[in-house]
């Protein structure tokens, strides 16, 4: 049963300890507030699900329902408090696209640095380099230090690097499309190509149209618990109903 499953999540819970002011003096002054602080926050409660090879699995839920926490646990950024997780294959987490970009380095250095952090070999980066630069439409800025880039340019660069990674398992956390309409169209198309390809995808999104077009199944997370898993349209309808009440 679990042979073809790329991702297996068994009874996972995640509890965070909330901290107030860190310094000794403020703690002394604000001791009353500290007494009131809810010490522990349960972000995820007994979550279980599986994702098969090549499947596109959507996750929806209100803000604060635990979606990003779950994604981070899947990415291996922190461990679950209890439960088991198994993810097979190279994981590319696209949680914060501009992660790793160093302002003082040139675009060329950044492309190599960020791609390496995601596990791409040097040979591959070299062969993809021109394509990355072209897609981002930044051919004239290869040796410019990126602190000089506009925010739009940074987003385009980050996105371009991201879509040239070769994921076996891709985790998308509400990846926004930056740039003008033309670039956004290009991005959406490329993203859909990637998602429809061989890789297994878990995507957190608020965009119904993308979810309907791409996902095989969708899971609805509410306050850290699974409300519903199943057919995309059905779950989205259930979720949508609570939104309008």
């Amino acid at each position: 049963m679990s042979d073809s499953n790329v991702i297996t999540v068994g009874n996972v819970s995640k509890i965070f300890t909330l901290r107030g002011e860190e310094t000794a003096l403020t703690r002394l002054i604000k001791w009353r507030e500290h007494l009131k602080l809810p010490r522990k926050f349960t972000a995820l409660r007994n979550i279980s699900f599986e994702v098969g090879d090549g499947e596109v699995f959507g996750i929806v839920g209100r803000n604060g329902s635990g979606k990003s926490t779950l994604l981070r646990i899947l990415a291996g950024i922190y461990p679950p408090t209890s439960g088991e997780i198994e993810v097979r294959g190279r994981v590319i987490p696209l949680i914060n696209l501009q992660v790793g970009l160093q302002p003082k380095l040139t675009m060329k250095d950044n492309i190599f640095l960020v791609s390496s952090l995601f596990g791409i070999s040097r040979k591959k980066i070299i062969s993809n380099f021109d394509s990355i630069v072209d897609f981002a439409e930044l051919k004239d800025f290869v040796n410019v230090q990126v602190y000089q880039f506009s925010s739009g340019m940074l987003s385009r660069l980050a996105f371009s690097i991201a879509i040239h990674l070769e994921p076996e398992v891709m985790l998308l956390d509400e990846v926004f499309y930056a740039g003008d309409a033309g670039f956004r169209e290009k991005s959406k198309k490329k993203m859909m190509e990637l998602v429809k390809g061989d890789c297994t995808v878990v995507m957190v999104s608020h965009q119904d149209d993308m979810l309907k077009r791409l996902c095989n199944r969708v899971m609805w997370l509410d306050e850290g618990q699974v409300r519903s898993i199943g057919d995309t349209r059905q779950v989205l309808r259930e979720y949508g109903e609570t939104m309008s009440t």
């Binding site: 949680i95 992660v99 790793g100």
Partner: protein, 252 residues
């Protein structure tokens, strides 16, 4: 095995990035690697050469070697303090192997340290004191590296628990600087010598100076103590790092 290659690749890229960024912020860039120690050296030489330094053979070399070697330890550890902690965005978004961040920071400092060692060699050659014993330099260099790395791992991890570690470490290194015979020499058979047995940096300096300036083969006992300290420190440092590792992303 793709994972080992990946790690080496990441290490290479992050070390390169660390090196470039260090240079990018200043106009003189790489020159500061040499200028820094040389300026300290000039000041201390002016102050001490006639008093404390009068009894020490080849005092300028003695002093400069002390400054340069201490500098590696001091810079390596202080830069490691923030190398993981300061990359909050990165560790919260990517499951990158965090040990590599510390390793790349210390490696970056090692590279600039090698420049400084080259300068030391040149000066030693000018004074005519170079002898075959310099083949031992790589060994003591390696032991210094291992010791510094161990301390760096511990500091990088503990930074997440003690936010004030930066201030504390800065004071600790200042005191340690004075306690180590960088600009002075210990009295033979005095109290200082006994205590210094427990100071790994004393052994690093002692052995380095023996082989570089005085043409003496390093004492076995000294090498043994230093090796024991270095590897034990590395072991403990990595232990602390691994223990705190899973929760880094939650503490920042």
């Amino acid at each position: 095995m793709g994972s080992v290659r990946q790690s080496i690749n990441i290490l290479y890229q992050t070390t390169k990035a660390s090196f470039k960024i260090r240079n990018a912020n200043t106009y003189l860039g790489i020159c500061w690697y040499l200028l820094g120690p040389i300026l300290t050296f000039v000041v201390l030489l002016l102050v001490f050469s006639h008093r404390l330094g009068a009894d020490i053979e080849h005092y300028p070399l003695y002093l400069l070697s002390g400054i340069v070697i201490w500098n590696f330890f001091s810079m390596g550890t202080s830069r490691s303090l923030t190398c993981v902690f300061g990359q909050a965005g990165l560790i919260k978004s990517l499951p990158v192997r965090r040990e590599l961040l510390v390793l790349s920071t210390v490696l970056d400092v090692l590279i600039s340290h090698l420049f400084e060692i080259a300068v030391l060699f040149a000066i030693a050659a000018y004074y005519g004191v170079l002898s075959f014993t310099v083949v031992f330099i790589p060994i003591v260099l390696l032991l210094n590296f291992i010791f510094t790395l161990g301390v760096s791992y511990a500091l990088a991890a503990l930074m997440f628990v003690f936010r004030d570690l930066g201030q504390i470490w800065s004071i600790v290194t200042k005191v340690w600087w004075f306690a180590t015979p960088i600009f002075y020499a210990l009295y033979e058979g005095g109290k200082g010598e006994k205590v210094s047995m427990f100071n790994p940096m004393f052994h690093v300096l002692d052995i380095s100076r023996d082989v570089l300036i005085y043409g003496t083969v390093p004492g076995f006992k000294s090498l043994l103590i230093l090796s024991a300290f270095s590897f034990a420190t590395l072991f403990i440092g990595i232990l602390i790092f691994r223990k705190l590792y899973p929760h880094f992303a939650e503490y920042v």
